[in-house]
């Protein structure tokens, strides 16, 4: 056991720090971790060019082929500097890894490096009005028309769709086949005729996710990932990456939140012992999440498989973030009602607290995640 950086890790960390010092746009600190649209493309491209965007991706696909520990260090340093993350969240975290796992050589060539450089933005078209947690109930039709697919249907709550160039889409490809064997997974050009994006205003007042309507959208045959009917398996790869590799990104955002919480408490000179107890608890919970991520990172590095201890990261993080942002509002007191009162109340915490309610819904609801931990990690009998 050695929790300090190895010489190689220390050198890498130094490099990241230097890069941030030289390239971080001024003023981004105030905006950081506010809304994802604030992350600007220039900064994202710089991250791509410096090799940070695809740290753990294989070199042949434009990645750095670096160990997972570098990814963790990179995210820690971004958090330390309160720097914005790369804009291509869905591309980097979901579409890219899925294309690496299932894509043809042509698909890898076509899409991967543009994801890293933030030249093309991706969105995820999984959820539908009648298929959220129950993703396998997806009803968007992906019909094989011989020389192309024809897509018809509706997706809901798709983040980034309003700025996306491509969508990873799952739908019904083989309607006569049984559940789990009837789905197909395709890459859809968001600029194709028949694709209509309608922004949905969130609880925060900001339209950050969207409905997508597909009406007779023609999708080239070469855009299928895996085979027709493999959609469920391909989607599992996407979700594994969505939830699995997110660990360090989550503790990094929580780290920023705890720093801001502590700064707020100092600023307001919090002396109430109950508030102080709760602030300390959030710090302790952050350390617990961080060191749990280190444990699963070590397991991942040694065995290639993430350890079971990491499976709960997202579950824990979402609840921590909800508690923490609520606590910040309590510290703000009556100012918490102001969205633009200057000083203490610039609207940051007000936005974050409302936004945090989505954390236990997006990327698998907490109930679904508890089912997964119960069944796959703890081996309890299935609930369905």
């Amino acid at each position: 056991m050695e929790l300090r950086d190895t010489p190689d890790e220390a050198a890498f960390r130094e490099g990241v720090r230097e890069f941030i010092a030289q390239n971080l746009p001024s003023g981004s600190k105030q905006r950081s971790a506010r809304r994802f649209e604030d992350a600007d493309r220039d900064w994202s491209r710089k991250l791509g060019e410096a090799g940070y965007a695809g740290l753990t991706w294989p070199k042949e696909y434009g990645g750095a082929g670096a160990p997972y520990s570098h990814q963790a260090i990179y995210l820690e340093e971004l958090a330390e500097a309160e720097a914005p993350s790369h804009l291509g969240v869905i591309g980097l975290g979901m579409a890219g890894p899925t294309i690496i796992a299932w894509g043809t050589p042509e698909q890898k060539e076509r899409y991967l490096s543009k994801i890293l450089m933030a030249d093309e933005i991706w969105c995820q078209g999984f959820s539908e009005p009648d298929a959220g947690s129950d993703l396998a109930a997806s009803r968007t039709r992906i019909e094989d028309q011989g020389d192309h697919f024809l897509v018809n249907g509706q997706k809901a709550w798709s983040s980034f769709a309003h700025i996306a160039d491509f969508c990873i889409l799952i739908g019904l490809g083989l309607p006569d086949e049984p559940r789990y064997k009837n789905l197909t997974y395709v890459i859809v050009d968001m600029h194709a005729p028949g694709v209509e994006v309608r922004p949905l205003v969130q609880i925060t007042g900001h339209p950050e996710f969207n409905e997508i309507f597909f009406t007779d959208v023609q999708v080239p045959k070469e855009n299928v990932l895996g085979a027709v009917g493999d959609g469920w398996q391909v989607a599992m790869t996407t979700l594994l990456h969505e939830r699995g590799t997110l660990g360090f990104a989550l503790s990094a955002t929580l780290d920023v939140a705890v720093r801001k919480l502590v700064a707020l408490a100092k600023d307001r000179n919090v002396t109430d012992p109950i508030l102080r107890d709760r602030i300390a608890r959030e710090w302790v919970e952050l350390q617990a999440l961080k060191y749990t991520n280190y444990r699963s990172l070590t397991t991942l590095t040694k065995t290639g498989i993430p350890g079971p201890e990491g499976s709960a990261s997202k579950l824990v993080w979402s609840e921590n973030n909800q508690r923490l942002t609520k606590l910040a509002l309590e510290i703000l007191g009556s100012h918490a009602q102001l969205t633009d009162g200057g000083g203490y109340a610039d609207g940051y915490w007000q936005y974050q607290q409302l936004r945090s309610r989505g954390n236990t819904i997006e990327a698998g609801t907490s109930e679904i995640l508890r089912n997964i931990v119960a069944e796959r990690v703890l081996g309890l009998p299935r609930s369905r």
Partner: protein, 282 residues
């Protein structure tokens, strides 16, 4: 960055677990035969090696002074306990007692009836105290880490018992573990224990390395692990239904140990007050 035990430490864990399954209540002589007594004294083992034992002894609900004797860190052949919050655990099983003023006293006094019947708390008569070796801050750090590790052992065992029961017991024609009210509650217990395990290992490493964050690490680990152990036991008792409420079932003994650990050397809020002081005044 390498946050795992070595293969030697994993071997030690296997050896300890097998031994304690056969001998859950070993004497200090038996533990000495295995070479574990005084493990922190020589140069061959670190606090991390000892921490493997502390956790495994917790899991086995071991009822003796081994960990206290180790963290007291006194030379010689005496078996030591430590006065904690005014009481001395296992007073009748040790020969000397270390008090927070760093004095050693002959183990004499009254043994009191305790909720955790295996604790053997005693009230020390302070006759003939002599100066002991070392500093209380160091003893306290080691002790907090050891209590956290013991709590991790207790908490994970409590969850394991519940998982086994929920996978077997049927009501309404179904295994009770298939009901989400049961499974989700056990997931929360499991997650709390695993998170606190990470803190306990961080604390153990920090003690072993005398890391600059050691005081924060032991405060975080002790508060979180002991609270997680209590939570895990409470969830386990609930999942066991009436069976879990009986004297016959071992669960209540895990629970009572967890309750002791939660309060020993201060409840969570006292440790979090230290953390808050560090965060808000630095």
């Amino acid at each position: 960055m390498d946050f795992a035990f070595t293969s030697e430490q994993d071997d030690l864990r296997r050896e300890a677990r097998a031994f304690l399954e056969a001998t859950p209540s070993p004497s200090m002589e038996q533990l000495a035969e295995l070479g574990w007594v005084g493990i922190l004294q020589g140069d061959d083992f670190t606090f991390l090696d000892a921490s493997v034992l502390f956790e495994e002894l917790g899991r086995a609900l071991y009822d003796g002074p081994f960990a206290l004797n180790e963290v007291a860190g006194q030379p010689g052949d005496d078996v030591w306990s430590i006065e904690i919050d005014g009481f001395v655990p296992h007073l009748d099983k040790v020969t000397r007692v270390l008090t927070p003023d760093m004095r050693g006293t002959k183990a004499q006094g009254d043994t009191l009836a305790t909720v955790d019947e295996t604790l053997g708390l005693g009230r020390l008569s302070r006759n003939g105290a002599e100066a002991a070796q070392g500093e209380w801050v160091d003893v306290r750090r080691r002790l907090l880490a050891a209590l956290a590790l013991e709590a991790v052992g207790i908490g994970s065992k409590a969850i394991e018992l519940a998982l086994a029961y929920a996978s077997e017991r049927e009501q309404f024609g179904k295994k009770i573990g298939s009901y989400q009210a049961i499974s989700h509650s056990l997931v929360d217990g499991y997650v709390a224990v695993e998170l606190s395990r990470s803190l306990a290992y961080w604390a153990a490493w920090s003690v072993a390395e005398n890391d600059e964050q050691v005081d924060l690490a032991v405060a975080a680990a002790k508060s979180q692990a002991s609270e997680a152990a209590v939570l895990a036991c409470e969830k386990s008792i609930q999942a066991h239904g009436g069976v879990g409420f009986t004297w016959e079932h071992p669960l209540h003994r895990y629970y009572k140990r967890a309750l002791w650990l939660e309060g020993a050397l201060g409840y969570g809020r006292e440790h979090r007050a230290e953390v808050a002081e560090y965060l808000l005044s630095s």
